[in-house]
Symmetry: C2
Subunit: 216 residues, 2 copies
């Protein structure tokens, strides 16, 4: 039994009390990965942005709004975990200034200055122990494998799961899982719950002891 | 029996295939208003942004993503309706340019130029017949009644419902309903379903024939 941290869903970065910037993410894939990990007998903590999906009853669920909130929750939970599966799509830009009151419409264009939010996977990579493993998801719209491998390197991941924007809010998905050498360990497509089972199997086989026997 | 158009939920304005600007809105109040109108025997069409709430089975539901989509759907439906109850929180700014590909993070700030989207209630007010009525919701964080009355005037509404940001994603709400003279016709608080019943009663009393008898 491993202790696994799963991030899921989008985060929100508010401009004012009513408007916010966010990433398209329903939390469905995060919930499906959590269900697969629970089913395999692991202890799961989900740190999730605002979504309406149901997480497995056996998982501990921590709900957050912003990327900073998600990072803070992960930094608390991760030291007691064996690994991370980062399915979340955290909002990676935030407005430099957040208005306390609703911004008034004036009829004129509005200039918004955005800065990057902290990178959750890279931040956890920076504090991880040697025995801890990291799996990230990369949603890319072009040069998918190349960019996913750059992300894997930059964030010191063990494995990376690549998908495209057609996965967003869809019931079905299509993913590749790549290792540090760039080798495609699996290509899975179908309903997210089935894909999550297969993906989790590939993760467990690579990273969770007892390791799979090598193919003969 | 009246034919009533209800707008509900947020709309989204994409920056790129994965990131978007939106307004906080769960669609709960729109769904509750639709249920109240259906229960009172009216024919209801809901034009809704992306939400997970359940609308009444008896209502026609048209799903949209952006503010332009919502306006286009409303312009099609409204001519056949007797009135509009605009509960939606349409995203009122959109990026001037929308990237076809996911915007790359560079480590540098991102300047975003936003312009206003079309105002749905004002656009419907501009094409409405004399016999058609308009009720809008105003979410204000300061000078609530003053700003709501400015909105009522600017958008040629018959009635305006005022609420605050504490209503967002909450089960309970607290609203005032004001007429064109600025008179508070009602102050309702409690679960959104109860408040919607009371609000719909006030709307029906003022705007839907047969009119209520004047208080003696």
């Amino acid at each position: 039994m491993s202790r696994i941290l799963i991030t899921s869903g989008p985060t929100r970065q508010h401009l004012d009390p009513v408007r916010y910037l966010t990433n398209a993410s329903s939390g469905q894939m995060g919930a499906a990965m959590a269900a697969a990990a629970v089913k395999a007998g692991h202890q799961v903590t989900v740190v999730t942005g605002p979504v309406d999906v149901a997480y497995p009853a056996a998982a501990q669920v921590i709900r957050v709004i912003s990327t900073d909130d998600m990072l803070a929750a992960c930094l608390q939970v991760f030291p007691a975990c064996d690994g991370l599966i980062a399915v979340a799509a955290p909002c990676d830009y935030r407005p430099v200034t957040v208005s306390r009151h609703k911004i008034r419409k004036t009829g004129n264009p509005l200039q918004l200055e955005l800065v990057e939010t902290p990178d959750i996977v890279a931040s956890l990579a920076a504090v991880k122990r040697d025995s801890q493993w990291l799996v990230a998801f990369a949603l890319e719209t072009e040069d998918q494998h190349l960019r996913a491998m750059q992300k894997l390197e930059r964030k010191s991941c063990d494995l990376i799961v690549v998908n495209g924007p057609q996965a967003i809010h869809a019931v079905e998905t299509q993913v590749d899982i790549l290792d540090r050498g760039g080798q495609v360990l699996g290509h899975f497509c179908g309903p997210k719950s089935d894909v999550a089972q297969e993906l989790f199997g590939a993760v467990a086989c690579q990273l969770i002891v007892p390791r799979c026997p090598p193919a003969s």
